[in-house]
């Protein structure tokens, strides 16, 4: 694209290198927002058709859209934003992607090199600000370093434990001409070599534990999804081969199908009784690509006290961080599971665990996800169940915002495949789901993409409906409207003497009119009898939709492990009357 030199096609401007590198890395879509410090790059984008640019309405939207894109495709999401406010608006999605191990490559414009440090117009210390919220970042001061840094950036973002990276490019470097080189093997960071293959000795120890287990459980997580399709396939094979029960974190849903016989449901604070009891009482725990998050462990000193723990993770810092494990295996899930499975088969041993399944059956019978049915108001759980039933068999992707609706979605929407479920787990970012849906839809134009939202969360990035309209992205925003920040209210009810401080959604907009104003389609439903028809209509609409589903306002999310309690002290919905709740949550004044 650069006309500067006819002899050497690799001579080009920094801006041209950026677009060229995107093509060389197979990038088809980027999400961004222009500004002074990136105009040379926008000029290059204008003059080509290989990379499609999606113009968002706020840089945070670009970041979450890229996250949704990445999670649903397994490819890195790419973002382009300007210096100063463009970069600072990216801090939330970068942090979100870091917590949830999502590969993002974010290119930021910077003021010209000679002005850096001068408080120039729209200057900020982008690499300083984003250092703690990226896997790595670079400020490129010389156009001849740009190609190498861009290739390194893609390598670092996507290899090992994936994560977000930032490449900050001053405007003079975008204008300067230098030499580009296509990606080559040496464009890996010299000091970064993640370990992929598991230590055979550790795998042998793991198999010895697995073959002699009496009460085993597989606890899988987001790392299985990160690792790719082979990992999910091998996980399923392992479950079939061993006959072991399996649970998953919020981030790992879909790696093992929810319809699978051995599925216990999600574990953790709002997980099922059977999953948490199995974790508590097991004798061998096989953790596959999960990180013993505090939503999972509860009290760490009472966490699964009698078990030997095997932990497969590509990041050594995830091992022994919260919970001491007996057999750590550092490596990529797919790679390690392949070896583990082969060794398990070779052992010729089949653990007998019928009594364990019998016990699990008793826990299952407690029906921990039960809720009161109601013929007059729509119960939020029922709404998710209907959404699930009516979209079954379709090519569906689900994103969520953060709150009760997110937990209900995790509990009641059954995922059969990985990459179908996009949610902000680690950071818990309200406003994630709508732009994430946008990103998913960009990657999967003909699929049904639904954001299961809350009335408060959805207002955080609502402006992106305009993006959906512009690019003809028929995302469906399914709002469980309870007129509260339900999750906050739940904690206030349980922990703060029912003082509902600022958790009521005052002055809610009319979502149907809002849909109209954006040029999308609005639905409102408040009667259980109208729900199915409206959902079916929503699915048929080939336009973006805001679906205002008015649900029971005061419903709370159970089961729940009260703070400071162990897994076997769960509060089940049937028992969550006022007395039991007061007892379970008895304590002093809240600190958090």
């Amino acid at each position: 694209m650069s006309e500067s030199n006819n002899h050497d096609p690799n001579q080009m401007t920094g801006a041209a290198m950026i677009v060229r590198a995107l093509k060389d890395h197979g990038v088809e879509h980027i999400f961004g927002y222009p500004g002074g410090a990136v105009l040379p790059i926008y000029d290059e984008i204008f003059q080509q058709d290989d990379v499609e640019h999606i113009l968002v309405r706020h840089e945070q939207g670009a970041g979450h859209a890229a996250e949704g894109y990445a999670r649903s495709t397994g490819k890195p999401g790419v973002v382009l934003v300007t210096s100063g406010p463009g970069a600072t608006n990216m801090v939330t999605p970068l942090t979100d992607a870091l917590m949830d191990s999502i590969p993002l490559v974010c290119i930021t414009g910077q003021v010209p090199t000679h002005l850096i440090g001068n408080d120039a117009f729209q200057e900020c210390d982008t690499v300083g600000i984003t250092r703690p919220c990226t896997k790595h970042n670079w400020l490129v001061r010389d156009v001849n370093d740009l190609a190498r840094v861009l290739h390194e950036a893609f390598y670092v973002a996507t290899s090992g434990r994936p994560g977000p990276v930032v490449v900050d490019v001053p405007k003079d470097v975008q204008f300067a001409t230098g030499t580009y080189h296509p990606p080559q093997k040496t464009d890996v960071h010299v000091s970064y070599m993640p370990r992929v293959k598991g230590d055979p000795e550790q795998i042998r120890k793991a198999v010895a534990l697995l073959t002699t287990a009496k009460r085993p459980v597989i606890y899988s997580g987001g790392g299985v999804v990160n690792s790719g399709p082979d990992a999910s396939r091998l996980l399923r094979e392992l479950v079939a081969e061993t006959g072991f029960p399996i649970t998953s974190t919020l981030m790992g849903l879909g790696a093992y199908p929810a319809s699978g016989r051995n599925w216990l449901g999600m574990l953790g604070m709002h997980g099922t009784y059977e999953a948490n009891m199995a974790m508590h009482d097991c004798d061998v725990m096989l953790c596959v690509g999960a990180r013993f998050d505090d939503r999972i462990t509860g009290r760490t000193d009472a966490f699964s006290p009698g078990s030997k723990k095997i932990h497969i993770d590509i990041d050594p810092s995830s091992i022994n961080k919260n919970i001491r494990v007996d057999v750590p295996i550092i490596g990529d899930v797919a790679n390690v599971l392949g070896d583990l499975l082969a060794a398990f088969k070779a052992s010729g041993k089949q653990p007998k665990i019928d009594p364990w399944w019998f016990e699990i059956g008793r826990w299952r019978a407690r029906n921990s996800l039960a809720y009161r049915r109601n013929d007059d108001v729509i119960m939020p759980q029922h709404a998710i169940q209907r959404l699930f039933e009516l979209t079954r068999g379709r090519d569906t992707y689900i994103t969520t915002e953060v709150g009760q609706h997110q937990m209900w979605a995790a509990q009641f929407f059954g995922f059969e495949e990985p990459h179908r479920w996009m949610t902000s787990g680690g950071l818990g970012t309200m406003g994630y789901g709508l732009p994430a849906a946008l990103g998913v839809q960009v990657a999967h134009r003909d699929s049904l993409v639904i954001d299961i939202a809350g009335d408060a969360s959805v207002q955080m990035t609502m402006q992106e409906m305009s993006t959906a309209v512009q690019y003809d992205l028929p995302i469906k925003i399914f709002i469980l409207n309870n007129q509260y920040m339900g999750m906050v209210r739940q904690w206030q009810q349980l922990l703060h003497g029912n003082r509902l401080s600022h958790s009521y959604s005052e002055a809610l907009p009319d979502f149907v009119k809002l849909a109209d104003a954006f040029g999308c389609v609005g639905f409102r439903v408040s009667k259980p009898g109208d729900l199915d028809g409206a959902i079916e209509d929503m699915i048929k609409v080939r336009k973006p939709v805001l679906f205002d589903c008015n649900v029971a306002a005061l419903e709370n999310c159970f089961p729940m492990i009260p703070s400071g309690k162990a897994h076997n002290e769960m509060l089940l919905p049937a028992e969550a009357n006022d007395d039991a709740t007061a007892k379970a949550f008895a304590g002093g004044k809240a600190l958090v």
Partner: protein
Amino acid sequence: MNQPASAYFMEDRHDPNETHTLSVLVQNEPGVLARVIGLFSGRGYNIESLTVSETEHARHMSRITIVTTGTPMVIQQIKHQLDRMIPVYQVVDMTLTGRSIERELAMVKVKGSGDQRIEAMRLAEVFRARVVDATNESFVFEITGGTSKIDQFVSLMVPIGLVEVSRTGVAAISRGPEGM
């Protein structure tokens, strides 16, 4: 189990703290020290001492020596967290290898007259400290040694008339023929 009602599980940990010296080989690229320091402050780890200097110019490599304290689990986390940083080549726990030499250099300024001066010189000799500056009423001593030796020397100088101390922090290296 009487924790305050909270969205977090809070528990006290009572593992005893240990002090470890870590040698960290890094790619000497802009911001690498900021990354390391940011890791410690961001995750609430302690830094007792930190020294850094380029050690291999041709390969752009620097060596950072960090003295830190924490429970065994925290120390392990610190090592893993350092190791996963992109510009970090290698982290060696010099305390675990047990065969390392640790040295610090300090310059100690002392002010005094008469007997105090004589006493200062006498102690300096015992500690093998060198005089690198002197006036009628002051000395600057240069002393190298382990942290505790320097601590001891400095505390002996207090009653004599300690003015100020400048210390380099700990540098560490293993014994024997092998490198990191």
